[in-house]
Amino acid sequence: MTLNTLTIAAARDGLRKGEFTAAELTEACLSAAAEAGALNAVVHPTPDLARERAAAAEARLRQGDAPDLCGIPLGIKDLFCTRGVDSQAASRILEGFRPEYESTVTAKLRDAGAVMIGKLNMDEFAMGSSNETSVYGDAVNPWRRQGDDARLTPGGSSGGSAAAVAADLCLGATGTDTGGSIRQPAAFTGTTGLKPTYGRCSRWGIVAFASSLDQAGPMTKDVRDAAILLAAMSGHDPKDSTSADRAVPDFEAMLTGDIRGKVVGVPREYRMEGMPEEIEALWAKGREMLADAGAELRDISLPHTKYALPAYYVIAPAEASSNLARYDGVRFGRRAKLGQGDGVTEMYEKTRAEGFGHEVQRRVMVGTYVLSAGFYDAYYNRARKVRTLIKQDFDRVFADGVDAILTPATPSAAFGLGEMADADPVQMYLNDVFTVTVNLAGLPGIAVPAGLDRQGLPLGLQLIGRPWEEGELLNAAYTLERAAGFVSKPGKWW
């Protein structure tokens, strides 16, 4: 049996039945990861640590009473600080940074007995939609177009996490999502990705991009695994003042597959001009599947949708310019080699010029501009007001009785690495057109694989839930997953 292909739920049950050991499960993932260099998904492998944790997990399992994730091999996005292990947000400026502390989310996973197999590739500081801004080089999608060996993007920013899960290098992975960075890569790789309600998972110890939008979440092989992993990542943390002091429900127990009588909204503004026919057809199929399961489908309007991306591209860079001010070559990471007579200003300027990649520099400077005197009101404050209106759009439909909202996850299937190299930056930003509203409104959203396009690439649908109702959302996603019956896996070429 190839243990690395198991779901978290199946591995959990197998470990308890004594069908295999945590060590065997971990070795299966470590060898799969070692053979998958061509995917460039695991950028800092941690085999020694993994073996140590697997042994400890095995002991716990034998005593009985071990948490769900005990002995489960996971990959961790490089954005999470992990004690003693390189954590550099895929940036040159954090080269060699080994934190003295552990992020709250990864500490929870560690304490639950999960086995970290390594750190995963991503876009630099989570800024990108194709994993092409990484200092480690591109992560590569395990999926290919039929009869074509062109390398495709696994999406971004959590591209390494999506590739690793799709290629069975680990059973699940952590991701983070600021504008779609969990859901778009999940859709591009035929995996499941959930962005929780803002405040569900602690942000402490996760390298900050845009603090009012960032949320960590699970990336898994199916919806049940997303429920299990989310429960382990969630919970209040006094070290993150925006983390919510709320009980974490048993999400897995809420997967009944019964959504009879639930109202699913279909927002007319998500019908974009020039949207590929296949995406439109997939969306129609999703509506049909939910209706067949007994949900009431309702046309709804979210009138400010069009303004979500432009608002995001003011707010996110503004917050990034402030968050990334800490990379100054003084306290951690890289400092540029200085010339004779260079002072602190030259140290800052040279360090940040050689430490930040092009996209990060661009966003930091756009953020600096929109926050600068004279433009603060015209750009930043206006964007924050539009954000209020976007949230009110959702508040209104939820107040009208809508339980969940169904949309496409992405405007296309995975595209080729390098294909967007000459495009205007705004073209790349359009990848997030269906996902970014959810971050602006702080809502939970999940991408579920629902079909293949005519080139054989996976396509995903997105469900958006009410705040704090990830359990209901997961159940709707579970129903959709069962109806879609998506079981395709990429053929192994790596």
Binding site: Y198, G199, Y307, V330, L440
Partner: protein
């Protein structure tokens, strides 16, 4: 609003990122593309709308104003590019 090379130079300076003179025109062009895209926010009627500060209506938690952590200078300095005698070291600031 169009960004010229002079503005691009000023923004780079404010952001403390050294941008070579020859790269400034391209940078200004990219700023213009992005700001041109966000320009459409001007169409929205935001009269009387409060700018969002936090997405979750929640009062921030309070705690005792006391020291909860500290006493670990070696750990704090362990990742510094240059540290001496328990301090971060930087190039000379004052002549």
């Amino acid at each position: 609003m169009s960004i010229d090379v002079e503005t691009a130079r000023r923004v780079a300076k404010l952001a403390r990122i050294a941008v070579p003179e020859k790269d400034l025109p391209a940078l200004a062009g990219e700023f213009n593309a992005i700001l041109g895209f966000v320009e459409q926010l001007g169409e929205v009627d935001v009269e009387g709308v409060e700018p969002m500060t936090g997405v979750t209506p929640m009062r921030l938690k309070r705690r005792e104003d006391v020291v909860t952590d500290g006493g670990m200078p070696e750990k704090i300095l362990s990742n510094a590019p240059d540290a001496r005698e328990g301090f971060f070291a930087v190039p000379k600031v004052v002549e």
